[in-house]
């Protein structure tokens, strides 16, 4: 499944990222924040409109906002 389908409060590990779905330097920006293959993150918040766009994920001790379109590029495994 992809990250955008993970429910609020649940954690997941990124197993693959389809970099071709990310425009320009977006991949680099995500990596600079530690969002890369193997990273573990949790969905913390979602916006109310547009199917829950944007989303806020917690990674380590950071909270990062990203768009649903980015999350859709990330294949994840749910963590218990």
């Amino acid at each position: 499944m992809t990250l955008d389908l993970v429910p609020i409060g649940k954690s997941a590990r990124i197993v693959a990222i389809d970099w071709s779905l990310l425009a320009g330097e977006e991949g680099q920006r995500l990596r600079a924040l530690g969002i890369d293959q193997g990273a573990e993150l949790a969905i913390a918040h979602r916006g109310v409109f547009g199917g829950g766009d944007p989303l806020a994920v917690t990674i380590g001790r950071m909270t990062v906002a990203l768009r649903r379109s980015h999350a859709r590029a990330m294949t994840v495994d749910m963590l218990a």
Partner: protein, 618 residues
Amino acid sequence: MRDPQVKRLNSAALVGNPNAGKSALFNALTGARQKIANYPGVTVERKAGRLALPSGEVVELTDLPGSYGLNPTSPDEEVTRKVILGEFPGEDAPDVLVVVLDASNLEQHLVFALEVIELGKPTVVALNMLDLAERDGLTIDPAALESELGVPVVPTVAVRRKGLAELAKAIAEAERREAEPPRGHEFPHERRLTAHAIATGAILAETAKHRLHARLDRLLLHPWLGPLILFALLFVVFQAVFAGATPFADALESVVAKLGDLVRAAMPPSLLRDLITEGVLSGVGSVVVFLPQIIILFFFILVMEATGYMARAAFLMDRMMAGVGLSGRSFIPLLSSFACAIPGIMATRSIADPRDRLTTILIAPLMTCSARLPVYAVIIAAFIPHRTVGPGIGLQGLVLFALYVAGIVGAMIVALVLRSSVTKGNASGFIMELPKYQLPAIKDLVLGLYQRAWIFLRRAGTIIFTVSVVLWLLLSFPRAMPGENQVDVSIAGRIANGLAVVVKPIGFNRDMALALIPAMAAREVAVSSLATTYAVSATDDTQAALKLGEQLKARWSLPTALAFLAWFVFAPQCLSTIAVARRETNGWKWPAFMLAYLFGLAYIFAGITYWSAVALGL
């Protein structure tokens, strides 16, 4: 010049991820005497100050823009990279690099630290915000960090001035050591693994995670409550700007009036006396009285930035901004534009997408900047009755709020049109760190307010002073014969007569046309121009002493006043904004476009307002 024989420490620079507490540390290290300018050729802010070393020597300390890495993804990060590597033209590479780390987010911040340390330059690490880390239940061993990184690590708490002397000492000592040869270069993902290992080794104990942040975010980012709180907050800000500043503004106004009386009493009637009272005091005085409002607005913006709420506002606004083809990132530059479009346009440098950035630059002048406040405030105070329309809601504040909303709605529509025409392209992304909540440090707030107030007063003292005096000269010559009105025969009056023909269809009178000319330099000059005009045209001292608001009430109709307000929602009357837009877009094409579309909108909407008001019988 630097003597090559005696190696002396000249400069040091703070680097680090955004949100590492760099600015607070910079303020604590350098105090209030800072030089804020731009790096030549680009509009990235260069903040420099003086740092006293234990030896008594003083070095220049610069605060480089926050960066996630040396591989730049924004103009800000590019400046940081070039300055660190000594590639920035006209800028010496700093002798010592001070990497600032957020102790409570060690792993993430260590990635950039490792990249900087790899360069082999004299480097010191400031382990900052240690108090917040402790609050989060983290116990960190600086010594372990130091031995792993191989550079001095100094624990600091900038807001409590802890570790500052030790940091200054470490900076002084770092330079004495010879620069090491660059260390082995790691690939980014290896660096992250190293950072993880080092962070794990340096964290002695870790208890409950940041509960407070999570709880605050649950409230402030709540799907329904979050936007509600944001709009309530913005409403409070604008009410405070208008109502809270009134006593201070009145006090300043009476000081200006007293000064005028003193001059009139002390000097015999002469042209020079008129220049001082009608030109300088009326002109500059009528703008300076808006200092309290500008300070209140900046106070709220600075607090929102310092607490970390601004990024949440960007998160909440992202969806709405996406609707017009922008992203939440544009929200911060646009919100800054409420204070002034110049820092707003400069803040667009954090927007990665070039089309997004251009669109944001083009609509930034539609945000109601503080220079419009003097114009709005004078007109509203004179024409809108001072009464309440609900508990705690004044009609005047409501009208002001409506003007702000008009600017925002206008900007959104323009953005939508631009994104589907001249700046057409892919939808933009939104990737942004939401920093931890923090209590703002009073000292940093005061310093920030002081810097903003000083910039405003310097403008009043230079541009507005000059324009007021020039306008007074244009208004006062040639001298009127007895029986003639001074304004009618003056040079300015004749120029305005020509312009008045153009603006007559939208309900503007000749005095307004006259005010618009010098207001091209800066919007608030419109107020001082009106003040100067009515002071010059006054037939006696009692009439001249009337407050500007009373003068306006006697001379303008309500539809005219409303049309004037509508004009200023759109009109691009600010030379500095146009200059900044030219620099940021590298040419005259986009500023020319900006001028044309904004004047067009101003004319159309002032006309609509005027004729609607007339039709309604106002």
